[in-house]
Subunit: 447 residues, 2 copies
């Protein structure tokens, strides 16, 4: 409906459309329509995210999905953005991008008000992200994503808290500790290993790319790929990657990055978080993270995959020319979480938000029934009226189909006697109640 734009030429054009050519009813490729049942699941997922985030003192922020394209431009000199983005030029000649992720936006917002904000700053948002790619399981062109970030804490207190929130999210979704694993690594430990065996900076990027794939390729392919890049230095590297502990032993417990990683794992362990796995091959993107990285991994045999992850990314504020602000965070998407909940039998059962459905028994007027409905709403319950004037049986079927828990049929007798039979559609049980008893009866029914 148009609210702002009385007599807007747009509305004229839309509805003058000739009806010769019929419009398709499908949504755009790779995005979802949320019918009430789907919206119920999305609202469930976001409400668990919201509740958990706020329990740790995180405040919600938001921004428009339209951002200046330069926020995502490769290098300052280049004029292109990634082909996976929705980038276009607006009618005023501005190049814009539909945000593919939240981090550049939140860094922009924090920088803009750095002097007014209180640190440590704990922020979360639940926003939609857009990627142009071929839709497949777990990957759509639009998904909702929780972003949790803590700014201004340089020590491992930040990593410990952020990972605790991620663990608590999973618990609040009903996951058990053995349903998932928290994989942790330190990018700085990888750097130290590379230095110790003479890997050059120019070799690092492609090496990280191969290491990140370690669990997805055979050990032969892994070894061959490494050999191709660093020749005979590969023996030592492969030997180190054979057993996790070897890397830590190689650097020694005096190494500050090893100390930091072990300290973090011990801290989480002391919180009762036992499903932690040091994973030396975990990289999560190339140049994004500066130190600790982590990911939540689904351990079920049918769904073995990364659910979400994050890490420390202190350097992003350089983009805006400000000082470094220590930052740790993660993003958690609704599509992967929904898949996880489905695989593990944790999906909520759909429930209508409407408490009571009033069936209208002729000849009582809609007006009379509307009065009753208004009074019941004022007493705190959600009430819908059938309005169809169909047979009572059809009206009841309608309520049942909409999963509304209670119905009441209102005819002349009910209006006269002011006694209403409230029927629980699931159990079939009826209770004859006075009007003033109805709200409390429904609220305390546990349905």
């Amino acid at each position: 409906m148009i609210d702002l734009f009385v007599l807007n030429p747009l509305s004229v054009r839309i509805f003058l459309m000739a009806d010769k050519k019929k419009l398709d009813t499908s949504p755009y490729k790779g995005v979802r329509d949320f019918y009430p049942e789907d919206m119920y699941v999305l609202n469930y997922i976001t409400s668990v995210m919201r509740k958990t985030a706020e329990s740790f003192g995180y405040s919600e922020y938001g921004a428009s999905p339209i951002e200046p394209a330069e926020l995502y431009k490769a290098k300052s000199g280049e004029e292109i953005v990634s082909e996976q983005t929705y980038t276009f030029t607006d009618r005023g000649g501005r190049e814009v991008t539909l945000r593919p992720e939240m981090t550049p936006t939140v860094a922009r917002m924090v920088t803009a008000k750095k002097r007014e904000l209180s640190f440590p700053l704990r922020w979360y948002s639940i926003s939609n992200m857009f990627r142009y790619e071929n839709p497949q399981k777990g990957r759509l062109r639009e998904h909702y994503q929780l972003n949790m970030d803590i700014f201004g804490v340089s020590g491992l207190d930040a990593e410990a808290e952020i990972i605790e929130t991620a663990w608590q999210m999973m618990k609040n979704f009903g996951a058990k500790d053995d349903d998932f694993q928290i994989r942790i690594n330190s990018r700085l430990i990888l750097d130290d290993i590379f230095s110790s065996i003479g890997i050059k900076d120019s070799e690092k990027t492609v090496l990280l790319k191969i290491i990140d794939k370690k669990d997805k390729i055979s050990s032969d392919v892994f070894a061959d790929s490494i050999k191709k890049i660093i020749g005979n230095r590969s023996n030592e590297l492969l030997n180190l990657f054979e057993v996790n502990q070897r890397i830590l032993d190689h650097l020694g417990t005096d190494n500050p990055n090893v100390k930091n990683l072990i300290g973090l794992i011990e801290r989480l362990d002391s919180f009762g978080i036992k499903n932690i796995q040091y994973t030396p091959s975990l990289v999560r993107g190339f140049d994004y993270y500066t130190d600790i990285v982590f990911e939540i991994f689904d351990t079920s045999p049918e769904n073995k995959r990364s659910l979400f992850g994050g890490g420390r990314y202190d350097d992003i504020f350089n983009l805006f020319g400000g000082d470094v602000i220590p930052a740790v965070g993660y993003g958690m998407g609704d599509v992967t979480i929904r898949d996880f909940l489905t695989e593990h039998g944790l999906m909520p059962e759909y429930k209508s938000n409407t408490d009571l459905f009033i069936c209208q028994v002729s000849p009582v007027s809609t007006q009379e029934i509307s009065f009753l409905a208004s009074r019941l709403r004022a007493s705190g319950i959600n009430v819908a009226i059938d309005l169809s004037k169909r047979k009572i049986g059809d009206q009841i079927k309608n309520a049942d189909k909409m999963m509304i828990p209670f119905i009441v049929c209102v005819g002349e007798e009910e209006i006269k006697n002011k006694i209403y039979k409230i029927k629980n559609l699931k159990s079939g049980k009826e209770n004859a109640l006075e009007e003033k008893e109805i709200s409390n009866f429904i609220k305390t029914s546990g349905v």
Copy 2:
């Protein structure tokens, strides 16, 4: 943060950006950043909308803002869309539009599942809309909009309910009856008037455009404009528009459209809705509405303007080649409502979602304090820890700046004695409590 796309080339490019050229921290022109204080207001507005909609039995739905452009194409033959839309071609050659309003989307969704849905169908959504235009007061390039629609009811029961929900929305925002007016008209009454004085169909569109502007232009300009279109028939038309009642008298109370309008006004009056004004010049768009139209009008002298509106639009389903589905609805934008709340002193005061802030007194470890915080969260309150290791005075100032209502300073003594002084930052009052008393104390404090 990237959750779905491990080793995605996008993330690489973003963070390789050379820091020579500093990025601007402003959002895109005409859209808003929502810092926590702004998000608080948006969440307040949407929660009132949501609560009111659900109290009438409306179910929430949603959809992606990216829609096929053809949904908004002028006529089937034409290849252009309105210049006020964001329309572009995706990388696969599909022409898409960022939705400027929700009605085409909801009509598409209802048509797609018409056979599975239960009618009367009551749906609402709270979604963002995009318009390319020059930002000004009350008009931005992106705004959030509540859409309320009832489908499948052809009589005035639908209009009565929809207008009752609009009135209830205003009441739930704290508005008094004399803060706003509900203006009502019937497009069919205008049609009957036009027929009765020999207005041709070809003259109708431009005539409606002038009538819609009646209250915004002088009566001389109004009369001249009308005369230019319909010559000497203008005398009768102008005479009718001089006094509202004349139009109804002219058609007579036997006219079915007059009957319908009067019936609707009487019905609303019987609900206790007294601030209704029959407004013959109300048009609200050209070809969108088929019968009753209405708008909520701000009556304050400083903000005299239409806040939002809607009406009956039965014919939209023709676009998809289906049967007509009776439909009545409206859209209510967050920007105009926010302005209304501000003008009328109805804005909510910002409150942090965090209940308790723990200040860390050296040498107690963060780990020790985190244990306490976790246990308090499990008891149902939202708890943040300072983590900055600054002086206590600075930590308290920080909590105050973030508007967190309660603080507790935790040092060795508190950990040993297990007694915590919970301080209300507003009143300055302190209460010494055991750990198990804290949650209940805060929950029942009324802060």
